[in-house]
């Protein structure tokens, strides 16, 4: 909804700062621009040749009954025509190509930038909005680059060429004809201003209509429960009516402008007949020139009318580019150290020292957290919702940076380690399994060149996913669609386990899923988890009794603090928080647990 609003706002049509920045993206295509300008000059000039040639045909050949000359001119006209068509084709092709390439560059740049942004950005921004930036907003710049900028040149060139030819043929008739020009400019100027206001007004009412509909479709059950259909119908009618009126007002401006242009062009015809005709009578002008002028008048009204329409393109483009640049200027990165310490090998010792962490300033979700995990150990973290379990994952992988204290791996502060190295050694298996569209294989390897097909299969075998994958029609090449909609919850989990195993990290963080699965799958998953934890340091946010019982140590989190730690039996006998948690969450598993 707020995105909707955001995108409705229209700024000015020209902003020199934005424009300068946008033109920066044109720079790599300087050659294209030069070519486009040359082609433009030609394409704009060729149509102006035609009236000149017809003037010659009329005055020199038709008047003198010269058939051959007439044929010659016709041939020339055809030649010019074909040349013009070819040039026009090239012009369109090259400018569009340039536009496409520029927005392609911009899109990749934007996407790459987004990849670097911290999770803090993704937490705050609806995904739909980020997608819009990369897709629609970039797209709306296409018109600016491919037709906007170039076509403005082209319109201006056409007008200049026509002027040159007119003055060349008869400067006084040209001056007389162009008397209408100030009127035309003034009409266009007035129209543009009125249309801009009316366009704004229409957008305003459209936004109102949209937000009314959005709100009332969402809250339709409230409307119906309170039997307010009649009243809402009247309210909608009022908004719908205001929208209509805004549009009808817009119609009025168009209804005035287009006929005005036609009247002005006829006024130019009238001037040509009156003044030019007079000159012909006095023999200072030929009929051919008169004829040519009539054609020129027809020609120069179009670009002037077009120029006023370029305005909307510019306006939308400016608004989009502003949003794009805002995102490009966003630098909420988790900073990589400038001279990271090289980590050749990791044993897997983890130490939290007085760690404090908050998502929002001063709202600490982890308070003075300290603990140490030895290489190869499996540690289970338990606690009620909101105890701060997930935050431990987030800070250990540096999705977020901590406020106070330090986290060390093998004695090295993780802020001194290259993020890529860190994440290579520390893998996370999240609770909600995320599958990408692609194949089963690509979902396990995630496209890493270091993971061969054999590695993928081996990992799948170890976690027990191989069996169901082999039963799929295309086995490891089976297509995964729409976040794995065709796979069961258990199957998806096994795939994510295989993924973690294939990457073979020294440190594994596992956020166990809570969703209930059938007994058979449960056994599969329990076995897989056991395999997964072997031979590495593991931190598990545990929801399974079996995982807890197998852990070397259990850390009990409560309200952001570490409250108890020890083994299952030790903690049970303490009769503290763990004891309560056990009764609340795990005790039932003991009864219903598969043997």
């Amino acid at each position: 909804m707020s995105d909707h609003h955001d995108d409705e706002v229209l700024g000015k049509a020209y902003d020199s700062v934005l424009m300068k920045r946008l033109l920066g993206y044109v720079k790599p295509y300087r050659k294209h621009v030069v070519l486009a300008i040359i082609l433009n000059l030609i394409v704009a000039g060729l149509p102006a040749v035609r009236p000149l040639l017809t003037q010659i045909a009329i005055d020199d050949y038709i008047a003198n009954s010269d058939y051959d000359g007439l044929i010659l001119i016709a041939g020339l006209l055809i030649g010019v025509l074909f040349f013009q068509a070819a040039m026009q084709y090239l012009l369109t092709y090259f400018t569009q190509l340039m536009g496409q390439k520029i927005i392609y560059d911009l899109r990749i740049k934007l996407f790459t930038h987004i990849q670097k942004l911290s999770l803090r950005y993704f937490d705050k921004t609806p995904i739909g909005r980020i997608v819009t930036r990369v897709t629609n907003d970039v797209e709306s710049l296409n018109e600016l680059f491919s037709s906007g900028i170039v076509m403005v040149f082209s319109d201006i060139f056409i007008i200049i060429w026509i002027f040159i030819f007119m003055f060349f043929m008869s400067w006084d008739l040209a001056l007389v004809t162009l008397i209408v020009l100030p009127f035309l400019f003034y009409a266009t100027f007035l129209f543009r201003r009125k249309v801009r206001d009316s366009y704004r007004n229409i957008r305003f009412h459209l936004a109102r209509l949209n937000s009314y509909m959005q709100e009332h479709v969402t809250g339709m059950n409230i409307v119906q429960i309170f039997s307010k259909e009649k009243e809402e119908e009247a309210k909608f009618s009022e908004i719908n009516d205001a929208h209509k009126d805004a549009n009808v007002k817009g119609v009025f401006y168009y209804a005035v402008f287009f006929p005005t242009v036609e009247i002005l062009s006829s006024a130019a015809f009238a001037l040509i007949i009156w003044y030019g005709g007079g000159n012909v009578i006095q023999d200072t002008l030929t009929i051919g020139v008169l004829f040519a002028f009539i054609q020129y008048v027809e020609m120069f009204f179009r670009p002037i009318r077009d120029l006023s329409e370029k305005y909307n393109i510019m306006q939308t483009a400016m608004a989009s580019s502003e949003r794009i640049f805002k995102l490009l200027d966003n630098d909420t990165f988790v900073k990589n150290p400038e001279n990271p310490d090289k980590l050749e090998k990791v044993n897997g010792q983890i130490e939290f020292k007085d760690v404090c962490f908050a998502y929002n300033p001063e709202e600490y979700v982890l308070k003075n957290l300290s603990f140490k995990i030895n290489p190869g150990e499996t540690v289970a973290i338990v606690g009620a919702t909101g105890a701060g379990k997930t935050s431990i994952i987030n800070i250990l992988t540096r999705f977020y940076d901590i406020e106070k204290g330090s986290i060390c791996i093998d004695g090295e502060d993780i802020r001194r380690i290259d993020k890529r190295d860190l994440r290579k050694y520390v893998s996370v298996v999240l609770q909600d399994v995320f599958l990408f569209s692609g194949t089963i294989k690509s979902n396990i390897s995630l496209g890493s060149p270091n993971i061969s097909e054999e590695d993928v299969i081996k990992a799948a075998q170890v976690v027990g996913a191989d069996k169901f994958i082999q039963n799929l029609p295309n086995k490891y090449n089976e297509e995964v669609k729409e976040k794995g909609a065709t796979l069961s919850v258990g199957q998806k989990q096994l795939i994510s386990f295989a993924r973690a195993l294939a990457y073979n990290p020294q440190i594994l963080i596992l956020d166990e899923a809570t969703s209930s699965v059938d007994t058979e799958t449960e056994i599969l998953i329990q076995n897989a988890i056991e395999k997964l934890l072997v031979g590495r340091t593991s931190i598990v946010i545990a929801h399974r009794l079996s995982t807890i019982q197998n852990a070397d140590k259990i850390l009990v989190m409560h309200k952001g603090e570490l409250r108890e730690s020890g083994t299952h039996q030790e903690l049970l006998s303490q009769k503290g928080i763990y004891h309560k948690l056990y009764q609340l969450q795990y005790k039932e598993q003991e009864i219903s647990r598969p043997a």
Binding site: R50, I58, I62, L70, A74, L77, L81, Q84, A86, Q88, Y93, Q96, Q100, I108, F111, T112, Q115, K116, F122, I127, T135, M213, V217, T218, M220, I222, V223, I225, F226, S227, N240, K244, V248, V251, A255, E262, I263, S266, F269, A270, L271, I273, I281, I287, L290, F291, I294, Q295, A384, T397, F399, S427, L430, F434, S437, S448, K483, I577, K580, L584
Partner: protein, 582 residues
């Protein structure tokens, strides 16, 4: 295209204005067609007599004809295009009025975005047909007939030659448009790939960052972008031919007029003025020839849009007053009976509720408890008929609810649903939303019961505070309490609270519940909750499990039973203890 016939009833509504518009088209074209004729006569007269007065007269005539033509062109837009806006209004209004009557089921099966697209894009597409498409086709037809008549009267042969290439123009416009459209469809496919890729990447960003796959993702995205660029260039290669072909064909027509016409001038069959007029007329015909292709396109789009709109406007209303409705019933006193009620959302889905039987007496407070997904909300949605039962019957005061007029039924039920939806309006208007003539007194009264009064004191504008995006954002608890106040304001005979305190802290909840006791004295109340604390004081508690009522009784009875309720009770005590721990 048949679906466009459905628009006839709208056209008929504005038939006078439309007829006027067509008349204006005829007048305007007649006047404008006059201009080249005067130019012709002026040019031809130049070589014969020396007459300045005639030149001035002709110049004025040209200007006059243009003025008349221009004025009527203005009038055309003010009639036909304005009518199209009127019809757009009517169509959208009809659409809205209809969907307002559709049942909740419909809104759960159709996304808001989809419905919005119908009401905006589809209605707009239809308008483009009603307005510009109709205007240009009539204009083209009339202009074509008039100019043809003049052409043929001047020289049938030159007309034949000059117009020979023009059908080619329509042909190419049609062919190219079709090709462009095909390629455009491919572009859209790629664009949707691009969107999907971006969407997927941003949703899975945690996994990508965890496994350091950013570069791989960028490479993938680059490939898709590259494909998208290629598809665009495929289209551009065809599209770039559009203008050149246009120039070529119209240009050839022009050259034919000059050369063939020129030859005829030499032979004395035509005058220079004739050729001049011919070329101007050609210019006037070119745009209509192009418009034919364009108009066909608009009609196709409008027809598809009309079909989509029609599909929704034919949806089954399901829940309305019907033959069974007994309009004699104009009040509700509050006894509710479920008789063998079963419910499922769709034919081929399993039952959500199976054979429920129970009676709630007038003035009783009844609680329903059970895990997520057992059908508590489905059950209470049946009472104000947001859904109808699949089997069985619900009686209110002994009458089948289907015989109670819908408005009477709903105006007597205060339902506070789980989703807290408030309009972006003032708090005052939100609270009084369901009332006919509410006043400040009522607002203050219900706000007090809902414990909203203290919060409002903190708002700078009090009850006139605007909620939502343009105003302040309420907390979850404040929203729930506002919804409660809104339901209380209609002075309902039956009050239904569907998990309405989940975001309210326990202390406030207790206060509200005790405030409500007085209010609920003579009213029937149904309370749904996960929390034992909310339901424990009810006259009767139903425990819903596996689509049926598993346990029923008072709090004491159920605790002693050592069943589902007792287990839940024990766990919640533990949770409380944990929460209290510091």
């Amino acid at each position: 295209m048949r679906s466009l016939l459905l628009l006839n009833k709208y056209f008929l509504r504005y038939k006078n204005k439309l007829a006027l518009g067509i008349l204006f088209i005829i007048v305007s074209n007649s006047a404008q067609v006059f201009v080249p004729l005067i130019i012709r006569d002026s040019i031809d007269s130049l070589k014969q007599v020396i007459n300045y007065d005639m030149l001035i007269r002709n110049a004025l005539l040209i200007f006059g004809a243009a003025l008349v033509g221009g004025f009527f062109r203005f009038a055309i837009r003010q009639t036909i295009i304005v009518v199209s806006r009127e019809i757009e209004f009517d169509l959208r209004q009809d659409f809205w009025t209809y969907i307002q009557k559709l049942p909740l089921r419909f809104f759960q099966n159709n996304s808001t975005g989809d419905l919005m697209a119908h009401a905006t894009n589809d209605v707009s597409a239809v308008r483009m047909y009603v307005g510009p498409a109709v205007m240009y086709s009539i204009d083209t037809a009339i202009r074509f007939v008039i100019i043809m008549t003049i052409f043929i009267s001047v020289s049938p042969m030159l007309t034949l030659y000059a117009l020979l290439p023009l059908p080619l123009l329509s042909y190419f416009v049609y062919k190219l448009s079709k090709k462009i459209h095909e390629r455009f469809t491919k572009i859209q496919e790629k664009f949707s790939d691009l969107t999907t890729k971006a969407q997927e990447n941003f949703s899975g960003i945690r996994v990508i960052k965890s496994y350091v796959r950013e570069q791989y993702e960028i490479d993938n995205f680059t490939t898709v972008s590259r494909d998208y660029l290629e598809r665009n260039m495929d289209k551009i290669r065809i599209q770039a031919m559009f203008m050149p072909i246009l120039f070529l064909i119209t240009g050839i027509s022009f050259i034919i007029v000059i050369s063939v016409g020129g030859t005829m001038v030499i032979n004395g069959a035509l005058t220079i003025g004739d050729i001049t007029a011919y070329t101007i007329y050609l210019g006037m015909l070119i745009w209509p020839m192009i418009a034919i292709g364009w108009v066909l396109n608009l009609m196709q789009q409008a027809s598809a849009s009309m079909k989509r709109l029609q599909k929704i406007m034919k949806e089954d209303l399901e829940i309305t007053d019907s033959k069974e409705t007994s309009y004699a019933i104009n009040s509700v006193s509050g006894k509710i009976e479920f008789k063998n009620v079963s419910f499922k959302y769709k034919k081929n889905l399993p039952n959500v509720l199976s054979g429920l039987n129970f009676t709630i007496e007038k003035g009783q407070t009844v609680a329903i408890i059970g895990q997520t997904g057992v059908g508590k909300t489905s059950l209470i949605n049946l009472i104000p008929r947001l859904y109808d039962t699949t089997e069985g019957q619900i009686l209110i005061d002994g009458n089948d609810i289907k015989s109670v007029p819908l408005k009477v039924l709903r105006q007597n039920i205060g339902l506070v649903s789980q989703e807290t939806f408030l309009f972006s309006d003032t708090l005052y208007n939100n609270i009084l939303y369901g009332t006919q003539n509410g006043n400040k007194e009522i607002v203050e009264k219900v706000a007090k019961i809902s414990r909203l009064d203290k919060d409002v004191e903190g708002f700078p504008k009090g009850y006139d505070t605007i909620l939502g995006e343009r105003g302040i954002t309420l907390s979850g608890g404040q929203k729930q309490r506002s919804c409660l106040a809104r339901a209380l304001a209609i002075d309902p005979k039956i009050l239904i609270l569907d998990d309405s305190f989940s975001a309210v802290d326990t202390n406030t909840e207790e206060e509200i519940l005790s405030n409500l006791k007085e209010f609920m004295k003579d009213r029937t109340s149904i309370i749904i909750s996960h929390r034992i604390s909310t339901v424990k004081d009810a006259d009767k508690i139903y425990v819903l499990d596996n689509n049926v009522i598993a346990e029923e009784g008072t709090h004491e009875e159920l605790v002693n039973k050592e069943g589902i309720y007792a287990d839940l009770h024990y766990k919640q005590l533990l949770e409380e203890e944990l929460k209290e721990l510091n």
